[in-house]
């Protein structure tokens, strides 16, 4: 950064840098960002985001069985109402259990902890354990076993941890 010889240009430059930083941060933070402010010296850039209007997801009491098909547009139903999606951090094949024949890591109604393994995504023969990014109760599993998923695709939806249902130890013993 240059010195204060030409304040007009410096501010302009500073604001431009802050805007770039806002964009970078906004892209990297989880969905649902509402407000972001960055300040440098006496320059501040503030961004407010109105959440898009979406139809509320059907409320699924914990006792009901999991839906037999994934939602038709899972990307739209993510982050509605009180649900938080666990999304795929990579591209690959989604598996609900650690190996063929084993029990699935989680079922609908299970309470999961943050960091608990909920699935495996296989890419180029490497098995990647997918950990839940939040604590909550599994409201829906959006992907079929052995289906290929893309980066950012919602895999399951977590609701608030109220209601009854099984607490799991994470399938094969968690972490």
């Amino acid at each position: 950064m240059s010195g204060g010889d030409r304040p007009g240009t410096d501010h302009e430059h500073l604001v431009r840098l802050l805007c770039d930083q806002v964009r970078t941060l906004a892209a990297q933070l989880p969905p649902g960002l509402r407000q972001l402010s960055l300040r440098a010296g006496d320059c501040e850039v503030s961004v407010s985001v109105e959440p898009p209007a979406v139809a509320p997801a059907a409320a699924l009491p914990a006792e009901q069985p999991a839906p037999s098909e994934p939602a038709t547009s899972p990307h739209d139903e993510a982050e509605t109402g009180d649900t938080t999606p666990v999304t795929a951090p990579l591209v690959g094949t989604f598996y609900r259990s650690s190996e063929p024949g084993a029990d699935p890591f989680v079922e609908v109604g299970d309470l999961v902890e943050e960091g608990q393994v909920v699935a495996i995504i296989e890419a180029m023969k490497l098995m990647n354990r997918i950990e839940s990014t939040a604590r909550g109760r599994v409201v829906a599993i959006l992907v079929e076993d052995k289906e290929m998923v893309e980066h950012g695709q919602p895999l399951l939806l977590l609701g608030p941890d109220t209601g009854e249902g099984d607490e799991t130890d994470g399938g094969d013993g968690g972490r």
């Binding site: 431009r16 990579l90 591209v91 290929m148």
Partner: protein
């Protein structure tokens, strides 16, 4: 037989490949990062797969995610575009391992050509003239000094694993050679993971002239003439044209023959470019091979009437070219200006942001390759190329006049957005360029 192509790239080149697929009746799938979810290539392709967050290392360079995207969509071929994974032999091999046709030369060849030292040795074996220089990487500063003394100053130190104009240092003062050797080696290690450095005589006032080659998998191949890309800033091309303003049919025949001898000799497949330096004395010397499609390919398409991306796809599918050198004609003159989101008045600092207004030119013999439109947010994660403007004319003055008209029409506005349009206009109006006399030192001497 190729039916569906995964486009493992972004921006204008992704749009280009999608268009070629459309022309050939092939299905196209674009791999995109989160930053590119609403871009033109994604809009135009038949399908799209998100392969990661914005940073290239986690998306466009993320081999497992790209392979996953191809498998998920049952693509049978991958087009890598330019940059990113286009010259990564490891990626090409992984594609083959998964039954995917990589649109480019065989991995083993890519590996050899990726090292400029190996490429030079290969070309020498096929009788292609090299600049005086070292064939093997230099091991010590003392070896560099000795080689430089033999060859004669000025010399240029080059990273063997470098590319795209990076990793080069000119040394004019012998007392600086050892320090510059150490600097170049250190930078090469960081930038290319490979500190191998070699050395060549540095030619002042030379032209960068490259020959486009196209080879099929049946031993057939042609060259499609040359491009003059001498107008460069820090080894980044700004303007390219075909033919080279000082080319003669005789020189083109000789350079073309050298290029084909080298390409066919090593078993090249697909589209590739042989770069040469054309010295003021009329001698030409091999520099390196770019084993991929190049940014400036439209200039060759304009003068030959041959669709290079379409030919890449055909050749990759195993089709013979179906024509020979006698069938290739060059007609008229073509020029390309690379419009970047950079501010020439601020040392070409990236000047990205939202394009509030973006109205590209049109009209007779004007082509614009772009992925941008009004409202596009130019992300800070990738290169700053906004658009390529290409004009064709019956002769060079007509081509330049059409380019001047086109640049005048091009309207790009946005808060904090600055472009190189003004610089291109300045160059077009400059007498040295207008006379076709620009060499590789031209831009550094032009007063901006």
């Amino acid at each position: 037989m190729i039916k569906r192509v995964l486009v493992a790239n972004r921006g204008e080149i992704a749009v280009r490949v999608v268009r070629a697929c459309r022309d050939l009746g092939l299905s196209s799938v674009v791999a995109y990062s989160e930053a590119d979810a609403h871009t033109e290539a994604v809009r135009l392709a038949d399908d799209a797969v998100c392969v990661g967050p914005p940073p290239a290392a986690r998306s466009y360079l993320h081999v497992p995610n790209i392979i996953g995207a191809a498998l998920k969509t049952e693509s049978d071929a991958v087009h890598p575009g330019y940059g990113f994974l286009s010259e990564d032999p490891y990626f090409a091999e992984i594609c083959a391992d998964h039954g995917l046709t990589f649109i480019g030369p065989p991995p083993k060849l890519m590996e050899q050509l990726g090292s400029k030292v190996q490429a030079r040795t290969l070309m020498r074996e096929h009788g292609v003239s090299l600049l005086p220089g070292t064939l093997d990487p230099l091991s010590t500063p003392a070896a560099a000094a000795e080689a430089a003394d033999d060859i004669g100053y000025p010399v240029i130190l080059k990273a063997a694993a470098g590319g795209g104009g990076r990793g080069m240092t000119v040394v004019t003062d012998p007392s600086r050679i050892e320090e510059e050797f150490n600097n170049t080696r250190a930078q090469a290690r960081v930038a290319f993971n490979d500190g191998s450095v070699y050395l060549e005589r540095y030619l002042q006032g030379a032209r960068h002239v490259e020959v486009q080659v196209l080879c099929d998998r049946h031993g057939g191949g042609v060259h499609l003439g040359e491009r003059d890309c001498s107008v460069q800033r820090r080894n980044q091309k700004l303007i390219e044209e075909s033919p080279c303003p000082v080319m003669t049919p005789e020189l083109r025949a000789r350079m073309g023959e050298s290029a084909m001898r080298g390409a066919l000799g090593i078993g090249y497949e697909g589209a590739g470019t042989m770069e040469f330096l054309l010295a003021p004395d009329g001698e030409y010397h091999f520099l390196e091979i770019n084993a991929r499609l190049q940014v400036e390919h439209p200039v060759t398409e304009a003068v030959t009437g041959i669709d290079l991306v379409r030919e890449q796809l055909r050749v990759a599918a195993g089709e013979p070219l179906g024509y020979d050198q006698g069938d290739v004609r060059m007609t008229g003159h073509a020029l390309e200006c690379r419009i970047n989101a950079e501010d020439p008045s601020r040392a070409f600092a990236p000047a990205t942001g939202r394009l509030e207004e973006f109205v590209p030119p049109g009209g007779p013999w004007v082509r614009v390759d772009t992925h941008c439109r009004q409202g596009t947010v130019v992300p800070p994660f990738y290169d700053s190329l906004l658009a390529k403007v290409i004009t064709w004319g019956a002769d060079r003055p007509e081509t330049l006049a059409r380019m001047a008209r086109a640049l005048r029409e091009f309207s790009i506005e946005g808060k904090g957005v600055a472009t190189t349009v003004g610089l291109h206009q300045r160059i077009l109006a400059d007498p040295t360029f207008a006379r076709g006399e620009a060499d590789t030192s031209y831009l550094s001497t032009l007063t901006l």
